[in-house]
């Protein structure tokens, strides 16, 4: 019962249970889930499906309703055509019943402005109608004119066609990296807060009388990390279900890959940042001083996040390639690089190895800082002091 691993388990369980039951944790979980569901569903509701326009046509306009509908379809619009007369058209446009009305050849009325895509459709259809009318007026056979003008549409040949799978991967990687960033910054800071909480409430002295400092630190990092991982899995499941239901993505290997990347990199990234922040946090006794000592690592995270944004749009650039394997940037840059870019599998292996090495080094350093400063309440303990005091 007194083995270090059972102590770590006890401590981790306390962190998990006490924090899991915390109101602010529950609230933040609900908010995060809502945001993720929003990200998955809203674009489908708003941007999903073709844009729809109501267009009125007077007999004088001389435009064929079918041609108008077909012109809309060609540009991914749904155009509903209604017969109207000039007076009614003015009113319907003003009331918003119609988005535009063709009154006469070359004449369109709108309330405020004409949507640019709809304008292209109207110009093309109106232009064709007027051209036909002129040719007919010049004595040509309208049927022959139609046939002559009916050319087949442009043939597009994609050299590397963008697959549905790649789109899914990219979408999930974008959202996933975003969530990963907040998860790392939130839970890393939570560990720091927990360390200071134990220090400022002095409970740490009771604990250290029975538990070695590093065991206490390990249990705390593990417990909070596990909670973060569970929350991340919950976010992934709920987000996927929502995105699948709304038709944004299709479940399958292309969805699993970026999710696995994000979950895996949470584990590594959290190990890095949580350990670092715990070591730094042990040096202060008040929450107010926390920002001050954890600042450098928060900055690293923010920089990594900008790196990941850059990587999503430039997944194959040299900067992305370097950042995606260099710890600790790899935590946030590797997932988009692997999911979106043209990356070989060994890259993720190398990134993981380097990050593991960094974490191992950090555990030694941060553990020593923690040990050397966690009992010294009062003013901030200097880095050198903490390092020296942790040497015993």
């Amino acid at each position: 019962m007194s083995s270090p691993s059972s102590l770590v388990r006890l401590i981790a369980r306390r962190e998990l249970v006490e924090r899991g039951r915390d109101r602010s944790f529950l609230v933040s979980t609900v908010i995060t889930l809502l945001v993720v569901v929003g990200l998955a569903v809203v674009p489908q509701l708003v941007g999903g499906g073709p844009d729809r326009f109501d267009v009125g046509v007077t007999p004088a306009a001389g435009v064929d309703a079918d041609a108008l509908r077909a012109g809309g379809r060609a540009l991914d619009l749904r155009v509903d055509v209604r017969e109207t007369d000039p007076a009614a058209a003015q009113r319907q446009v003003r009331d918003g019943d119609l988005d535009a009305a063709l009154l006469a050849p070359g004449q369109v009325v709108v309330d405020r402005e004409l949507d640019p895509v709809l304008r292209a459709v109207l110009e093309q259809v109106d232009g064709a109608a007027r051209g036909q009318a002129r040719l007919a007026a010049a004595g040509l056979d309208p049927a022959a004119v139609s046939t002559a003008l009916a050319v087949p549409p442009l043939q597009v040949q994609a050299q590397e066609p963008r697959s549905e799978a790649a789109t899914t991967r990219e979408g999930i990687a974008r959202v996933g990296t975003f969530v990963l960033y907040f998860q790392l910054i939130g839970y890393g800071f939570w560990v720091a807060l927990g360390v200071v909480e134990e220090k400022s409430s002095r409970v740490v002295e009771v604990l250290l009388a029975t538990v070695p400092a590093r065991t206490l630190l390990a249990g705390k990092v593990l417990g909070i990390g596990l909670l973060g991982l569970l929350q991340l899995v919950l976010i992934a499941v709920v987000g996927l279900v929502a995105a699948t239901a709304s038709g944004a993505v299709e479940l399958g290997a292309s969805a699993a890959y970026p999710i696995a990347l994000v979950l895996g990199w949470f584990v590594l990234g959290f190990a890095f940042y949580a350990t670092a922040m715990a070591g730094m946090a042990a040096r202060v006794s008040r929450q107010e001083d926390l920002q001050n000592v954890t600042g450098p690592f928060t900055l690293l995270l923010v920089l990594s996040f900008f790196g990941s944004l850059y990587a999503t749009s430039n997944p194959d650039s040299l900067v992305t390639r370097v950042l995606s394997v260099a710890p600790p940037f790899s935590a946030l840059v590797n997932p988009p690089r692997m999911a979106i870019g043209d990356a070989a599998l060994w890259e993720v292996g190398l990134a993981v190895l380097l990050m593991l090495a960094a974490v191992c080094g950090l555990v030694v350093v941060a553990g020593r800082l923690y040990e050397g400063s966690v009992l010294r309440t009062g003013s901030k303990v200097g880095l050198r002091d903490a390092w020296r005091a942790g040497a015993r």
């Binding site: 019962m1 006490e18 909480e197 134990e198 002095r202 409970v203 740490v204 009771v206 009992l375």
Partner: protein, 289 residues
């Protein structure tokens, strides 16, 4: 038996402990007294391994104290500390498990202690919602929950009302009667005098006086009498020093009955009491010396 042997601890240029030695026997309550900064808290932290000594050692049953012994020790630090937002019962069970208790025993021990300390109604409340006095009771419960073999309590009674003191003292007494040695520090000297079997007075990192209160009182100290006589001034036998305000100090050879006779010659005697120094008096003398 707990032995502190020649403990020395320096913090930079300050010497907190300077060869402090002390023994607490089974079933004995040792009061650890001294001015602020004398080294009491540092000594206790060394016993618990929260700090490491620069020299000297702490022994339990003849062998140096190790992690196993420390897990069977109950500790109440000077700076109170428990999780403010954790429920009282959960908190005690958690600390019990950290100290190696398992399964049913944790729950039984927690329930029993909360009842003994008369806070069973607060088991499900978070700590910070309790009054300071009740938080102090929980703190003692945290030191006792794993049924320790040794108790080290830094200022366990500070800030408690008389009822709280009685409840805590009774809980401690029950342990002592089972043979648990207790080392506790306090500034409340009347309390120490009442509860402790032995006292150790510490000054600038050393124990300067130790023993039972009676032993500390005796040991070459001159007897004192308080005498009140109505009327004239008595002629005291030789060897009696009048300290004023009716207080007399008697040299070794002086018979107190001769003093009484001298008093009665001068007039009716209204008071004639041997004066035994209180721990407070002893403390003042030792610390001022």
């Amino acid at each position: 038996m707990l032995e502190l042997r020649g403990l020395t601890k320096r913090f930079g240029a300050t010497t907190a402990l300077d060869g402090l030695s002390l023994t607490v026997r089974p079933g004995e309550v040792c009061g650890f007294v001294g001015q602020n900064g004398a080294g009491k808290t540092t000594a206790m932290r060394l016993v618990l391994g929260v700090l490491e000594p620069d020299a000297g050692e702490v022994c339990w049953q003849g062998a140096p104290v190790d992690a196993l012994v420390r897990r069977r020790t109950g500790y109440m630090p000077e700076e109170r500390g428990l999780y403010p937002k954790m429920r009282v019962g959960d908190q005690l069970r958690y600390l019990g498990r950290l100290h190696g208790l398992t399964g049913e025993r944790v729950s039984q021990s927690t329930t029993q202690l909360l009842a003994d300390l008369q806070i069973q109604a607060r088991e499900g409340d978070v700590l910070e919602s309790l009054s300071l006095g009740n938080q102090q009771r929980v703190q003692l419960a945290a030191a006792l929950v794993h049924d320790p073999e040794l108790l080290v309590l830094d200022e366990p009674f500070s800030g408690l009302d008389p009822v709280g003191v009685e409840v805590l003292a009774a809980a401690l007494r029950a342990r002592v009667d089972r043979g648990v040695p207790v080392l506790f520090s306090s500034h409340q000297l009347e309390l120490v005098e009442r509860l402790c079997d032995t006292v150790a007075i510490v000054r600038t990192g050393r124990v300067v006086a130790a023993g039972t209160v009676d032993e500390l009182r005796g040991g070459g100290r001159a007897r004192r009498l308080r005498v009140r006589v109505e009327g004239g001034a008595p002629r005291w036998p030789s060897g009696v020093r009048d300290l004023g305000d009716g207080l007399l100090e008697l040299a070794d050879h002086v018979d107190d009955q001769a003093v009484l006779d001298a008093a009665r010659l001068a007039g009716p005697v209204r008071e004639f009491t041997p004066v035994r120094p209180t721990l407070t008096d002893l403390f003042r003398e030792v610390v001022a010396a």
